[in-house]
């Protein structure tokens, strides 16, 4: 295993676009090579060293049983220290390996990732896990809008993998969700699971309004309250201690099908806790 440490040099003005910060690119590179990777800030392209101190620690001792020299992406771990909430696209498109951020991350964290894992100990900006296809994105703090959703204009959001949010998320969580699962320990705001066609969203807290609007497949469960219920859902029964994938929910749930606002035969399921 190789660990690469990025230490933020201080506050960042215009947001930095840093899709180079993925194990797939860092793997096997020397300190100087990583420092020289190009990121964009506004109209300027600058080396990564402009914003981060880089340190590479090879753990050769760990590699005896694999026979590898620790340069594969899946043996690469990136640790980021400091506030990177103005650094966008960390982990975008990553296929393997691990990223851990001791602070908050900017927009598009782990967007389009297909494998590996990301842990943010702080908060994540909007579009985290956007259109992700696989892997694990764990946000220990709270998340902003459009988590795991489709990007502008598209109705195909996250298709696989898992997003865990220990705090709350804002609006349009899982917009256009096709597959995979999103679990929010806290609350969500508006239009969670809008246009969802597959996959699973579990909100342990409450939702504001528009849950499952225009959904035609997949499952949403809200364990707290929904302040304004979407009008296009029809109640189809009650279930106790619902099991959704590998999730076991406690208590009595009302089950709804929808969204009939979208078509005549929608296949979306919405569970709401009754008691």
């Amino acid at each position: 295993m190789t660990e690469i440490l990025l230490r933020s040099k201080g506050s960042i003005g215009i947001m930095v676009e840093a899709e180079v910060i993925i194990p797939d690119i860092f793997a096997g590179k020397k300190k100087e090579e990583i420092e020289g990777l190009i990121v964009w800030q506004g109209p300027f392209s600058l080396p990564l060293a402009e914003f981060f101190d880089v340190d590479v620690r090879s753990g050769a001792g760990l590699l005896e049983d694999t026979g590898s020299d620790g340069t594969r992406p899946d043996e690469t771990s990136i640790l980021i220290e400091g506030d990177v909430s103005r650094v966008k696209r960390i982990g975008q498109g990553m296929k393997a390996g691990r990223i851990e951020i001791h602070g908050s991350a900017g927009m598009h964290l782990g967007a389009e990732m297909t494998g590996g894992s990301i842990l943010v100990r702080g908060d994540a900006g909007s579009w985290a896990g956007r259109e992700m296809k696989g892997g694990l994105l764990h946000i220990a703090g709270s998340a902003a809008d459009h988590i795991g959703s489709a990007y502008r204009g598209s109705w195909r959001g996250m298709t696989g993998g898992e997003i865990r949010i220990d705090g709350s998320a804002r609006s349009q969580l899982g917009g256009g969700l096709v597959g995979g699962q999103i679990v929010v320990a806290g609350n969500v705001e508006n239009f969670c699971g809008i246009r969802q066609s597959g996959g699973l969203i579990v909100v342990k807290g409450s939702a504001m309004r528009g849950v499952g609007a225009e959904m035609n497949g997949g499952t949403i469960a809200v364990c707290g309250d929904i302040r304004q219920f979407s009008p296009g859902f029809i109640e189809t029964g009650h279930e106790e201690n619902v099991k959704l994938g590998d999730m076991q929910l406690e208590g009595l749930y009302a089950k709804f099908t929808g969204d009939y606002a979208l078509g005549k035969n929608p296949k979306g399921s919405l569970y709401c806790r009754e008691g």
Binding site: A150, Y151, R152, G153, S154, W155, L262, G263
Partner: protein, 599 residues
């Protein structure tokens, strides 16, 4: 490889290429092509030879520059497609270079990207297939900003209030006067007729479904409109024949109405009365057809619903094989993302009801309508698989390649950058069989494609992508061939006809997608897909005339009804300044045209 020793002289020689020039009967002969001042010439002087740009095309395929006679690349509905599909843009971008603009868009690219992508693929001439009169300014603005390509646009007239009124009254002269005035006013090149009588009904959420079904208020039938506009077309003597998008387009079982529509102009003689100098060709470069059917794939459906949907292409092809007055373009479906856009508002609404995709719809006042929808054609879909098969059947079952033109009705059936893929299916049965295996089984079960052994040759490819589109739209006086006097538009493919293995699909598609050279007006514009120079294209339009007194009479009708427009009469025309490098084609003397129809 080619040594291009560019100097100040404007002469170019393409040496020793295997030339495919069907309008001159040249089938792979090894020849030199000489170009002076942008035009093909028979020879150059010694001094000119010394200074010429020389392209060594030994062992390579040389064809005239590609001509796309039906594509949606400019105007309001194309832009509506761009606006409603940001997802089509942010994943398909091209960065700027020292000489080119940046651009974006996969199914509906920006105008710059369109121009570069066509040129990189060996095409030099592209015609916009549907320009609503009220959107003519927008269309010309976009064409003006499209680099490299020579362009023109067909004006949509099949649901125009004035045309409908005159044809209902049987006043063909005034209809002709109106069309002539409209073409001059809006700088249009040809007449397009989209779902005649049906789009007008769409204003009342209705459509028409039969050729003899009169529409609301105007009480004119599709048959009267098709016949009338075809007559008007030949009375005026336009370079191109009437271009028809049939009724019931995109609906199961529509091959019959398509065939019956093709019969309507039967007997009307094709007359191109344009005043032009024609470049030298061995075969006649003048069109024979009185009807040019748009995107036949969408009009060649069998069955009675989507459940028993099947190909109707064999039946449609059987009729076309019997007659000489019809040309089709294919509107083939190569699978993948598309953006459907057409003046057929009700047709697009039906597609929206099936797919639930993003949809936009527009009513163009007294003139026409339109709809735009995003769509992905999937090999796993039974219907899409049959559409793929039909798009190839219409090319392969019509025996005479001079009756067919290869298109995708970009971006409706597919994207123009998929033409190379399309060509591989037309040239190789194995390529078709391989794709059919990846498709839903309906592809071969519900069509006759599996039993078709025909494989098109490079010569036939040159017909359906160059010679015939140019001839069909009346541009063969300068495009689609390499005879003396033709435009110096040449494509040099890295394909050695003697060593060509049509079954190596990937290699063939790659070579067709990125020709070694695209030459326009004697100047190299693209080299292996890279744009190396960016000349401004020309904009072609027709200026047909009728008798002054008739025109005055007609104009008083137009002014009378102009109160229904949201624009003022004075603001209606497209000013000359909207066109860069305009080429106005003068057409017709009215009296003899009238005699023609009455006689």
């Amino acid at each position: 490889m080619a040594a291009a020793s560019n100097t100040t002289a404007n002469t170019t020689i393409i040496r020793n290429g295997c030339v495919f020039d069907p309008l001159n009967g040249i089938n792979g002969d090894i020849k030199d092509i000489f170009i002076r001042e942008g035009k093909v010439v028979s020879s150059l002087t010694g001094a000119e030879m010394r200074d010429a740009t020389i392209i060594d095309a030994s062992g390579k395929t040389v064809m005239p520059g590609g001509v796309d006679s039906h594509s949606h690349v400019a105007g309001a509905k194309v832009n509506a497609g761009r606006l409603m599909r940001p997802e089509d843009h942010y994943k398909s971008v091209r960065t700027k270079t020292g000489i080119t603009h940046c651009g974006s868009g996969y199914t509906v690219p920006s105008v710059y990207k369109q121009g570069y992508d066509y040129a990189a693929m060996g095409y030099t001439t592209v015609f916009e297939a549907a320009m609503p009169p009220l959107e003519a300014r927008h269309t010309h603005e976009e064409m003006r900003s499209t680099p490299i390509l020579d362009m023109g646009a067909y004006m949509v007239l099949g649901n125009n209030w004035f045309v409908m009124r005159y044809l209902k009254d049987g006043d063909i002269e005034k209809a002709a006067a109106y069309v002539a005035w409209m073409m001059r006013t809006h700088k249009a090149y040809g007449i397009k007729c989209v779902n005649p009588a049906g789009v007008e009904n769409w204003g009342w959420a209705k459509n028409v479904h039969g050729l003899d079904e009169p529409n609301i208020h105007f009480e004119v039938t599709p048959r009267e409109l098709i016949r009338g506009l075809a007559e008007v077309n030949e009375m005026l003597g336009l370079p191109m024949s009437l271009h028809l998008h049939t009724n019931n387009l995109g609906h199961p079982g529509n091959w019959e109405i398509a065939r019956d529509s093709l019969m309507i102009p039967s007997g009307i003689e094709a007359k191109n009365r344009s005043e032009l100098e024609w470049a030298k060709t061995k075969e006649s470069a003048k069109r024979k057809q009185s009807l040019y059917l748009a995107h036949a794939q969408f009009s060649a459906y069998g069955g009675s619903s989507w459940r028993d949907f099947c190909s109707g292409a064999p039946e449609l092809a059987r009729y076309i094989n019997q007659v000489d007055d019809v040309v089709i373009d294919s509107g083939s479906v190569p699978f993948g993302p598309a953006t459907t856009m057409t003046g057929d508002g009700p047709g697009q609404h039906d597609l929206y009801m099936i797919t639930g995709q993003k949809w936009s719809n527009c009513d163009v006042e007294l003139e026409c309508g339109s709809g735009v929808l995003s769509l992905v054609y999937m090999k796993s879909s039974p219907v899409h698989s049959v559409q793929w098969a039909i798009g190839l059947e219409v090319m392969l079952l019509i025996d005479d390649p001079w009756k067919t033109i290869m298109t995708t009705d970009h971006p409706n059936g597919g994207i123009f950058t998929q033409y190379p893929q399309l060509i591989t299916w037309l040239m190789s049965k194995k390529a078709r069989d391989d794709t059919a295996k990846e498709c839903h089984k309906w592809a071969y079960d519900k069509s006759s494609l599996g039993g078709v052994d025909r494989e098109m040759s490079l010569y036939e490819m040159a017909i359906v992508t160059r010679a015939n589109p140019a001839r069909t739209i009346g541009m063969a006086y300068r495009k689609g061939h390499l005879g003396v006097g033709a435009d110096g538009d040449v494509t040099v493919y890295d394909i050695n006809p003697d060593k060509l293995n049509v079954n190596d699909t990937a290699a063939l598609a790659a070579k067709l997608a990125r020709p070694d050279f695209t030459v326009k007006d004697g100047r190299i514009v693209a080299r292996k897909g890279e744009i190396v120079s960016v000349p401004e294209g020309r904009r072609y339009y027709c200026r047909p005339y009728v008798d002054d007194a008739l025109e005055k009479e007609m104009l008083s009708d137009v002014k009378d009804w102009f109160k229904y427009y949201t624009v003022g009469f004075a603001n209606y025309p497209v000013p000359d300044k909207y066109l860069k490098n305009p080429v106005a084609i003068q057409v017709n003397r009215p009296l003899e045209a009238e005699d023609l129809v009455r006689g």
